[in-house]
Symmetry: C2
Subunit: 356 residues, 2 copies
DNA sequence: AAAAACTATACAATCGATTGTATTTTTTAT
DNA sequence: ATAAAAAATACAATCGATTGTATAGTTTTT
């Protein structure tokens, strides 16, 4: 009967073969300093005993963990789970592992998580900062210890950190322009937190499009929101109260809020989309393609964002000078997915305006 | 100017305070063997130097990693990302971290991942097996080394492992019964892989409901499918070809396929849901509540499944005898969410049949 | 005041793998 | 055949924290 001894180490193999543990270590890592015959004996004995390298011991000695820390606000949000998918696939390919944590948009928790990840001596960090995070000061420990960090999606201006972001401004601009092309004149904006760069950018893009087309704008067109389904419903109710000032289009900060509003309008009002109001969002949630009419949205390519960020990080890990000599920003291109929710002029394909 | 030395260790603190590193270690873990004054000096010096414990060294010595391995087929699927959310929150509360990997339903990759997780000496493992996984043989290394394992959602009969599963059979039964109550007579089933316990169970639940109600059943009512949106469309096309044998209800193995079919019917046929055909699915995808009519679905409570599995695992980690003395199976209750896609008798609330 | 009991701290081994240096063995060259 | 070169393996230190044992210093007991 084969007995499987627990937690076999290289010393166990060494003892059985009457060799030194250093030879075993070298044999297992295929070092040229070990004879081919010995290598074979070691490999076969390792298999026989069910040896598995203790990664922690190895990590301690080599000061490398083959582990990447990933911090996001919420794992289960479509955008983040797609981004994590991209990250995981990219790094797993190179035999890295990911430790994933969620900050729940809580700065204190985020700090605690970063501390833990540092103690685990991750080889690199990918983080999409919480809404509350004011700056990158809590990342300094990574910088001080030359552990590469790449931000993705959410970021901050200061800090000079490398990042992979989405061209939010352009996306919002395109979306708004598209609505204008459809003949919309009074376009409201459901805006996310002003503390967040990304929602700021979306707001800017919206503003610029209005300006470029000489369309009316008032501060009251902008409705700050948490962009949850519930909050969106509250806001549309509010908007509808002022019957003299109804918008004919609504640029929502995300799909979740846009979808909630469409559902509300359909179930509780006579207002029709896109006939009475055009609606657009961000993120291309799966539902956006399933409802009727489909929701026009700015696709953020979250998988690609995750993949790109992971590739950049791996590059930094392998070329540390790069990581700390300068900072790198990659902007992932947006693409506007036009669906029924903004198609007043139906079926006709509208080309981009060439107004200078 | 304060210089932050890289990678401060307890030895650095010891040197500065002219103490032994063992005293530092004990002071930092608040051992009663260190005087209170010394503790204070150590703590303040640690802070001053920016000391962070090297978890790897600690892990190696204590043979504990405070890390849980999580393996799922696809991170970005709604069900799994919700389950991971539940897992992460539960274990993070107890200061555990999660290493998350995806098997892409590939058995070979799954084996490789498990090997890696074992080498990292995770304290426990949560796994939702890949479709291809035939048995638990690749988990034996965890058993042999007394590392607790809890399966969730996907599982296998043999192996005697603890698991948290969903009552798929009951869910399918309830869904089918509900359709029958609505007056449906010819109910088809879009079935998932027969290799998977969960789809087997759903099929069984469907069958039992038909039998209990003495409804017609033929093998041809069951359509095997990969349950992707694309495949579902192919299958509904196929079904519609046989005009003499159209179903008046369709129990789909998941929401994704149900949603795809509803969209197809709406866009390409005259068939109306629920008027001509009732449709139901599994998982309560976010879109199911947003489309019109809403999709009736069996809610699987993925967050709760993840949370429960994580709690069970933590319990096993802290009580190892429990983990290996017996096996434990928790079945998470299903709940049927009735929406428009199955409501022929509109608005009337239908109570469960009491037919014995 | 000496012995006993207790505190606080130091010493040293250990976890398992890696790696620079030293030594032994084998091969090649003369 | 012997020296030199090369190959294979052994020795020993190390990564940083933990922990059992030993020792120095202090307080209590009688």
């Amino acid at each position: 009967m084969k007995k499987i001894k627990k937690n076999i180490t290289i010393h166990d193999i060494a003892r059985e073969l009457k060799l030194d543990s250093s030879t075993i270590s070298r044999a297992l890592s295929d070092s040229p300093r070990v004879g081919i015959k010995t290598k074979e004996r070691v490999l076969s004995k390792a298999k026989e005993l069910g040896y598995r390298r203790n990664q922690m011991a190895s990590n301690l000695r080599t000061n490398k963990t083959m582990t990447i820390g990933v911090v996001v606000p919420y794992i289960s949000r479509h955008f983040f789970s797609e981004a994590i998918d991209g990250i995981e696939q990219t790094v797993a390919d190179k035999d890295y592992r990911v430790i994933i944590s969620q900050s729940h948009d809580d700065y204190k928790l985020e700090k605690k998580i970063l501390d833990g990840l540092f103690m685990n001596r991750v080889d690199g960090l990918l983080i999409s900062a919480s809404m509350e995070t004011p700056d990158s000061s809590h990342l300094s420990i990574f910088k001080d210890n030359r552990i590469p960090v790449v931000l993705f999606d959410r970021y901050f201006e200061n800090g000079g950190l490398s990042k992979v972001i989405f061209e939010d401004k352009q996306g919002a601009n395109d979306l708004t322009q598209h609505m204008i092309n459809q003949g919309c004149k009074k376009i409201f904006h459901l805006a996310g937190s002003i503390d967040s760069q990304i929602y700021q950018q979306r707001y800017q893009g919206y503003r610029e499009a209005l300006k470029k087309n000489d369309l009316e704008f008032k501060e009251s067109f902008v409705k700050p929101s948490s962009l949850t389904a519930e909050d969106a419903v509250e806001i549309i109710k509010e908007i509808l109260k002022d019957k003299k000032n109804l918008p004919d289009a609504l640029v929502c900060g995300n799909d979740i809020s846009a979808l909630a509003i469409m559902k509300y309008l359909d179930e509780h009002t006579e207002i029709r989309v896109p006939g009475d109001i055009c609606i657009g969002g961000f993120s291309n949630e799966p539902a956006s393609d399933l409802i009727k009419p489909g929701l026009t949205t700015v696709d953020q390519h979250p998988f690609m964002i995750g993949k790109t960020a992971a590739e950049m990080l791996l590059d930094f890990i392998n070329n540390k000078e790069k990581a700390f000599r300068s900072s790198n920003t990659v902007e992932i291109k947006s693409s506007l997915i036009v669906r029924g929710s903004t198609l007043k002029k139906k079926k006709k394909i509208i080309k981009k305006n060439n107004i200078k």
